[in-house]
């Protein structure tokens, strides 16, 4: 036997292909940051980066959940509405005088329950996730208006303390508690994906569902689990958003699911599933945040430019994924 024929051609300087999309995102992020620093003096301030995290903490949490779903080859369109519904519900319950701890528990249960139900429908009735979560999206958004047609302010002391608490260094740079929570979610998400059977089953399912089934993996449970996880992340995201805005509004976070999907894809997770990392998703969210910051710094550009740039990036990254896929063959 010739050993050479068995070993894939791998040159030492070659980056393994599975890391290419994440590294591309990292490069892009560094380039954008460098552009920012070179153009605007204030951009080099550490607080600018911290603000990106503060402004996008809830987005990051929801994106971690979406990463699970997309890794299985699915999609969850309900996340934006679930975020809004959770925020709305919390605001409404707090207004009714309920204990904040009880509100948190209830808020954290509703999202995963809806996700679990959607997962069951997707698995048992073999319906496209796109359609099922679209229905979930309308349902959750409807519930928001059902709770109240107008915005509800939050005055609860626990909530306001969470919103105002600053954790920082002596030089005055700070992050909010939401950012820490988001980091915990990221770390837990990354651990689950890399070091647990559930996480590896998610990858297997996204790689080849038929094979996963024949290898004896719990395909159904995994599928349902990822939608429940996405629901849980959306619920956490909703609470973080209510910390951030100190209110619940029926039309908040409209279209957020699309931002989240964009962040996950720009972060290198392949839309067909099976390949991607939570770390990439973090980078994807940062790219989105830095684009917004750059456009804010510029001042003369309309905020719609954010969308245009994200659109262009999305195209570029999907093409990149496709090219890598083709080269593999």
């Amino acid at each position: 036997m010739t050993t050479t024929s068995l070993t894939p051609t791998r040159d030492w300087w070659r980056i393994p292909q599975r890391y290419v999309p994440v590294l591309a995102t990292l490069t892009l992020l560094l380039v954008m940051y460098a552009v920012g620093v070179s153009q605007y003096r204030a951009f080099s301030n550490v607080q600018v980066i911290f603000n990106v995290f503060i402004d996008n903490g809830f987005l990051l949490v929801v994106a971690v959940g979406m990463t699970f779903v997309i890794l299985t080859g699915g999609i969850d369109l309900s996340v934006g509405s679930v975020v809004a519904m959770t925020a709305m519900m919390s605001a409404s319950l707090l207004q009714g005088g309920m204990d904040p701890a009880a509100v948190l528990v209830i808020a954290l249960l509703v999202g995963p329950t809806l996700g679990f139900l959607m997962g069951c429908v997707i698995h048992f009735f073999e319906i496209q996730p796109f359609i099922v979560t679209l229905a979930g999206m309308f349902f959750a958004r409807g519930m928001c208006t059902f709770i109240s047609k107008s915005s509800i302010p939050i005055t609860d002391p626990f909530w306001t303390s969470m919103a105002q608490e600053r954790i920082g260094d002596p030089r005055g740079n700070f992050v909010s508690i939401s950012v820490l929570i988001a980091f915990v979610v990221v770390v837990v998400g990354a651990f689950v994906l890399a070091y647990t059977r559930l996480g590896r089953n998610v990858y297997a399912l996204g790689g080849n569902q038929q094979s996963a089934l024949l290898m004896g993996l719990p395909v159904g449970q995994t599928k349902i689990a990822v939608y429940a996880i996405s629901g849980l992340c959306s619920a956490i995201g909703g609470i973080l958003l209510s910390f951030y805005t100190l209110s619940g509004a029926p039309l908040i976070a409209v279209g957020m699911e699309l931002d989240v999907i964009a962040a996950v894809v720009i972060g290198g997770t392949v839309l067909t599933g099976g390949s991607g990392y939570v770390f990439g998703t973090v980078l994807g969210v940062l790219v989105l945040g830095v684009i917004r910051t750059l456009i804010t710094f510029d001042g003369s550009l309309n905020s719609w430019w954010t969308k245009i740039v994200i659109g262009g990036l999305l195209f570029a990254f999907i093409l990149l994924q496709r090219l890598i896929g083709i080269r593999k063959k």
Partner: protein, 514 residues
């Protein structure tokens, strides 16, 4: 081996599907430490037997015992847990995971729920080393060749303490060196005492590795033989059977002299045409008015040859000339442009659109050839369709009913009509008579004769030797994805001779096409 107890016995297994008796009282024995080839043509019942064994299907009658204990598995998972593992033709692993994960996923070593990656990689390396395979287990499975993937699948299977390993056509997409690697592993496992059931269509491989052979035909057991005592010719005879189809004796028409046709102008010349992993490069000339038969067992590469000539698969070797001029057949459109037509063997999945009417199905290819912007006038459509419905006696003779309501034979005729209407100069027919009744079969055969008499070149592919012999002027014999020889179909050629060629791979005395 007679003194030892079989690890697996299947006794009087029967299994019926609606309308089909797939297995009829089949016995099967498997001893530890042997490679046992399960042979038979398509529909012989090989895969049904294996699916009954692994619990994919329940059996209607019969007993399965594993190591003396009667068993009945609810599915492949339970079978694997009991030590009966299957490795399928297509590698059922995840290309996006690492080699180590593919072996251990679902059974990863863990502490407190966290996977121990180092331990898993080490065990994967050890296991593969047992198979004499030294590769980087951290690499994604997809970066390795199919042969290695196949071996990883075997590694996964034997880690579940396998006593019986079923290899279902594991070699169909491997090349010669890869097959040799696989065989080395199979011998290795055999020597460790694992019993291997080996399903394949490649005769050479059977004689290269199997200790014993069980032959099935039409759902019945033909026999169980030590490989050394069953010559290849006898094996082929047992697989194909020698039942003459008395029902359909086409009038012995005065067949035109094959040599005369050979001397005529060639329509299509393929020179060293081939595709890696599909067909070894072959050369074949088809003359106008000639019927070239492609004979060979299932999986010998007959369909692959047809697909290359039609451009359905792209050749990576050799060239094709039509009318003496070079014609790279890159895709079916190019082939159609050269007046080549192809009736595929899967008329349901690749040919006909069941919901469309007979008329629409017949018009399809012609419309495609004209371009969709120039619709064929309805009156012209009706004329053409009526003509062919009559000529081929398609029944019911109503061109407006959906094709799916027609019988198999009539569907085949609709497919034929579709291509005939485009007036091709070369018609490729892949198993045109499979699964259709005798009457329709005879009509299609008659039609082939008429068409070739009219100057059309026909490439006729069929598993039925009698049919190939009756119609062809020249027979190209395929074996193990290789065109081994061409025989001019004169009085010296009969079924025995073709079978001999299929079995031995070399042609015997007698004339050969230069």
């Amino acid at each position: 081996m007679s003194g030892r107890q079989p690890v697996l016995t299947m006794t009087a297994i029967s299994k019926s599907f609606p309308g089909v008796r797939a297995l009829d009282g089949v016995d099967f024995r498997l001893f530890p430490g042997e490679v046992h080839a399960l042979m038979g043509e398509n529909g012989a019942g090989k895969s049904t037997l294996i699916k009954v064994l692994t619990g994919v299907y329940g059996n209607d009658a019969g007993v399965i015992s594993l190591a003396g204990q009667q068993v009945s598995f609810s599915g492949p998972m339970q079978a694997a847990a009991a030590g009966v593992s299957t490795v399928y033709q297509e590698v059922n692993l995840c290309a996006n995971l690492s080699v180590a994960e593919n072996i251990f996923i679902g059974r990863e070593p863990r502490t407190l729920g966290a996977i121990r990656w180092g331990e898993m990689r080490r065990r994967a390396r050890d296991l593969l080393a047992r198979l004499d395979l030294h590769i980087d287990v951290t690499q994604l499975l997809g970066t390795y060749s199919l042969a290695v993937q196949q071996m990883v699948a075997i590694a996964r299977a034997i880690d579940i303490q396998a006593r019986v390993l079923i290899l279902d056509e594991p070699t169909s997409s491997l090349d010669a060196t890869e097959v040799e690697q696989l065989f080395r592993i199979m011998r290795h496992l055999r020597d460790e005492g694992i019993a291997i059931i080996f399903v394949t269509h490649f005769l050479d491989q059977v004689y290269g590795i199997a200790d014993r052979i069980t032959v099935l035909r039409n759902g019945r057991l033909v026999g169980e033989y030590p490989t050394a005592e069953l010559p290849q010719l006898a094996l082929v005879e047992k697989m194909i059977g020698k039942e003459l189809d008395v029902l359909e004796s086409l009038d012995e028409h005065a067949k035109r002299d094959a040599r005369e046709i050979e001397a005529g102008t060639p329509f299509l010349q393929a020179e060293e045409l081939g595709r890696k992993g599909s067909v070894t490069p072959f050369s074949l000339t088809i003359h106008a008015g000639e019927v070239v038969g492609l004979a060979g067992l299932l999986g010998s590469g007959r369909t692959e040859v047809a697909r290359l000539l039609f451009g359905a698969d792209r050749a990576d070797h050799g060239k094709v000339a039509v009318d003496g001029k070079s014609a790279p057949l890159r895709n079916p459109i190019a082939a159609i442009g050269h007046d080549i037509a192809f009736c595929s063997e899967n008329r349901r999945t690749e040919g006909l659109v069941g919901e469309l009417s007979v008329r629409e199905n017949i018009i399809l290819a012609m419309q495609a050839a004209r371009g969709w912007l120039r619709p064929i006038p309805r009156r012209r459509q009706d004329e053409l369709v009526d003509k062919y419905v009559k000529a081929l006696s398609i029944r019911p003779a109503d061109p407006e009913i959906p094709v799916r309501n027609l019988s198999g034979g009539n569907q085949q005729k609709v497919l034929l009509a579709r291509w005939l209407i485009t007036e091709p100069r070369l018609l490729i027919l892949d198993e045109p008579t499979r699964g259709i009744d005798v009457g329709a079969k005879a009509e299609i055969q008659k039609l082939v004769v008429q068409l070739s008499d009219g100057g059309m070149a026909v490439l006729f592919i069929s598993a039925e030797l009698e049919e190939v012999l009756r119609l062809s002027h020249k027979i190209a014999v395929m074996r193990d994805r290789q065109l081994v020889t061409e025989l001019v179909n004169d009085h010296t050629v009969d079924a025995d001779r073709v079978m001999q060629t299929i079995a031995s791979g070399t042609h015997h005395e007698g004339p050969e096409v230069a």
